[in-house]
């Protein structure tokens, strides 16, 4: 009764608010909030200098550069190719389209370890694709990028697709009547409509890529300073029983995730407003 009296903005005749909210909050607290706070408490056992040393040593900095760089480039390709895939799926008809549409979600459904070993095999020097390439992919930073492209692939497609389906075709007809060719219509009419969704998809793919572990560690080769991602570094420190050091890096990553989460929420609100307005 207490919850409903203090929190409810409007009286409701429906029952179950206290039970449902009480359970949901308890569940989230025990599973997420308390364990997450443990990470912050653990970090407080370090002095500021120790924290800075743990999170900015050359090996850690190299892992940030790789993780952020590869994630950014992967999200970029996903934004461009994802927009093309969404466009093709919404606007054109071609054989196998429905199967391809369904398969776009594969990276969501396929366990990351499976994706990791499959990509490593394909892009290795004697692999299906790797043997035709003039440069090495597996066991290099390029491999990290390939894995991150794979796991981020559905995000842009799935955020842009519904918006593209909803674009009012009369706007395009109006643009054509006013003398705009397709390219101008795309740039000036369609692109502004899908842009918020595109940015949301990009941010989601980027956020996912930053934390990705399973698909990357097989293909990366994991050489310190060269192809070692930050999540792996956390595990390495844990295995050396350097709990505080591992947690310090984790806290840096967590803070970045929180910021990204806020950005994504703002983008989604913007996208909804845009979509409602058109």
């Amino acid at each position: 009764m207490l919850l409903s009296r203090t929190l409810l903005r409007r009286h409701s005749v429906l029952p179950g608010f206290d039970l449902a909210l009480g359970f949901a909050v308890l569940y989230v607290s025990l599973l997420v909030l308390v364990p997450l706070s443990a990470a912050f408490f653990k970090t407080f056992t370090l002095t500021w200098q120790q924290f800075v040393d743990a999170t900015t040593s050359p090996r850690v900095m190299a892992s940030y550069r790789l993780t952020f760089g590869a994630s950014l480039l992967a999200a970029l390709l996903n934004a461009i190719a994802g927009l093309a895939v969404a466009w093709v799926l919404v606007r054109y008809r071609f054989p196998g389209q429905r199967i391809i549409d369904a398969l776009v979600d594969l990276p969501f459904a396929l366990p990351t370890a499976v994706a990791g070993i499959a990509l490593t095999a394909i892009y290795a020097k004697n692999g299906w694709i790797g043997q035709w390439l003039p440069f090495k992919v597996s066991f290099t930073p390029i491999g990290v990028w390939v894995a991150l492209v794979f796991i981020g692939l559905p995000f842009v497609v799935r955020t842009v697709q519904p918006v593209l389906e909803d674009v009012n075709r009369e706007l395009e007809e109006a643009a054509a009547t006013l003398g705009a060719d397709r390219w101008v219509t795309f740039r000036r009419v369609i692109f502004p409509i899908v842009m918020p969704a595109l940015l949301t998809g990009f941010a989601l793919a980027f956020a996912r890529a930053l934390g990705e572990y399973g698909s990357v560690i097989f293909i990366a080769g994991n050489m310190p300073m060269v192809s070692e991602i930050t999540p792996l570094l956390i595990i390495t420190k844990l295995e050396q029983y350097d709990y505080a050091g591992a947690t310090a890096i984790a806290v840096v990553m967590l803070l970045i995730s929180f910021v990204l989460l806020l950005v994504i929420n703002a983008l989604q609100a913007w996208a909804r407003k845009r979509q409602g307005g058109v």
């Binding site: 364990p35 093309a84 499976v114 390939v146 397709r182």
Partner: protein, 282 residues
């Protein structure tokens, strides 16, 4: 159309170019990886494939994966319903905070998800000594694996239910209430039938992730063969021992699960769309 295109359509060469680009991209990053799993799994013949799957450690891994899913999916189902009920049917202070918290596991690295449980239940952790004194094991044991799995999968059901239940509003429930129905009666007779497809959809996604989780489980498992290895961890061990055919054989089971998930997802998606439409027309 006598070769003349409508002004709202792209020229044929643009269309072909775009379709070509999309297909090449998907082929390199999606279709070939999927096909590889099955090709590599059967490379050394059906016997090797079969042997890799019925081997005791593999079976133990399958069993543990099923245990983790069987515990975490129902827990997250109940949570998803509770969270969706209060978020979609009531207007309360702090709703956005709860919504953000539900999204959190999507943006936290799985490695960090595992790490935080080590900090709470590990030997050096908050409850470490107490657990050791009472001869209980969470980290490097099954309970830790279940906890990590619950963490990474808990948004799925809630995320599917909330938008649908928000769109459906509360008129039907209110009508039931006025007609004298009790809380559980309203839930079972009115709300649940309205959201059953979205619920199933959420459960399918939740299950797929629960069975395939790697990073979080890897941190808390300890990798004890036959005891704390789930299927994805078993694949890793086989792969690192250069038993590629065996690794891909076990992987093919998970790839099959992913394909089944996609088929079910596609079927259920159509139903959800249909129920959204019905809701729209009312």
């Amino acid at each position: 159309m006598n070769g003349r295109r409508k002004p709202t359509e792209e020229p044929a060469w643009v269309r072909r170019l775009l379709i070509g680009f999309a297909l090449v991209f998907l082929t390199f990053f999606l279709f070939i990886p999927l096909a590889t799993v099955f090709v590599e799994a059967f490379k050394k013949g059906v016997e090797v494939y079969w042997a890799a799957i019925v081997e005791p450690d593999a079976l133990a891994a399958v069993k543990l994966t099923l245990i983790a899913a069987v515990i975490s999916v129902p827990l997250n189902l109940v949570f998803g319903i509770a969270a969706a009920w209060c978020i979609a049917k009531f207007d309360f202070r702090g709703k956005n905070v709860l919504l953000t918290l539900i999204d959190l596991p999507f943006s936290v690295s799985p490695v960090i998800a595992g790490l935080i449980y080590v900090l709470v239940f590990g030997l050096q952790g908050w409850f470490g000594e107490w657990l050791r004194d009472n001869d209980l094991k969470v980290i490097f044991a099954v309970p830790g694996i279940v906890l990590a799995t619950v963490f990474v999968t808990f948004p799925f059901v809630a995320r599917e239910l909330i938008p649908l239940m928000q769109a459906q509003g509360i008129e039907q429930e209110e009508a039931a209430r006025v007609l004298g129905a009790g809380g559980w009666q309203i839930f079972w007779r009115v709300t649940l039938p309205n959201v059953k497809w979205a619920l199933l959809y959420g459960v399918i996604l939740c299950n797929a992730r629960a069975m395939g989780e790697f990073g979080a489980v890897s941190v808390v498992s300890g990798h004890i063969r036959g005891q704390t290895n789930t299927m994805p961890l078993h694949i890793e061990i086989l792969y690192n021992e250069y038993q590629f055919a065996a690794a891909f054989a076990v992987a093919s089971l998970l790839a099959l699960l992913a394909l089944v998930t996609l088929v079910l997802k596609y079927a259920v998606e159509q139903r959800v769309k249909a129920s959204m439409k019905v809701q729209h027309e009312h």
